[in-house]
Chain length 106, copies 2
C-alpha cells in the first residue's frame, strides 16, 4: 500500500446513501472520505472508546456533537469525543468530509 492518497480521486458519491471511502487503515486509526449528496445524512450515533475528527473538504452542511450543532463548510474541523453523539447532514450541495477515527473500532 502506498503511503500517499489523492483524496479527491478517492471520493465516490451514491444516490442511495452517503458513502465511506477508506484511504488508510491501521491498528490504531482509520482515515476515510465521507461523501454526501445534498440532503443525505449520517444519523446521530456514538462510539464508546474512540474519538473522531471531521475535516470539511467541500460543500456545506450541519454537524452536531452533543448539544452543539453548527453549519459547517470547507476549513472547519470537528471533534466528536468518545461517547458524544454526533451526526452529519449535507446542505444543498455535495458534501465531502475527511474522517479520522482513533482507535479503529473493533
Amino acid at each position: 500500500m502506498s503511503h500517499f492518497a489523492d483524496v479527491h480521486a478517492r471520493a465516490r458519491f451514491a444516490a442511495e446513501k452517503m458513502t465511506k471511502n477508506n484511504l488508510f487503515t491501521t491498528d490504531r486509526l482509520f482515515c476515510d472520505v465521507y461523501c454526501f449528496e445534498p440532503g443525505q445524512s449520517q444519523s446521530a450515533h456514538a462510539h464508546a472508546g474512540s474519538d473522531k475528527v471531521y475535516y470539511v473538504l467541500e460543500g456545506s452542511g450541519r454537524i452536531q456533537v452533543d448539544a452543539e450543532e453548527r453549519v459547517v463548510g470547507p476549513g472547519t474541523a470537528v471533534l466528536a469525543p468518545a461517547g458524544a453523539p454526533h451526526a452529519v447532514t449535507a446542505g444543498n450541495e455535495r458534501l465531502r468530509v475527511l474522517v479520522i477515527m482513533a482507535p479503529k473500532p473493533s
Copy 2:
C-alpha cells in the same frame, strides 16, 4: 472547549521555524495544523507506537515516508505508520498541513 475549529484562523506562521498549532487533544489523539514558510521543514523522525496522518491544506512541498518521497499539494493525504521515518519540506510557497496522530505520544 468547543468541538468546532476554524482551521484557517488557527494557522500561524513564524519566520524562525515551522509551527504546530493545536486544534484538539484527547487521550487518544491530537489534531494540529502545521505551518511552514517556504523552505522550512520538519526533519525525518519516527514515532514508535503512534500513527500519523497528514492532509495537505494549502501550498506545496515534499513529504517522505520510509523510502517513498513525493511532491504534494492540496488534497493529498499521507500515512506515516508507527516506526516509519517521515519528513516534510515546504516548497516555494507557504505550506499548511492538517496533522492527526494516534495515539497521542506520552
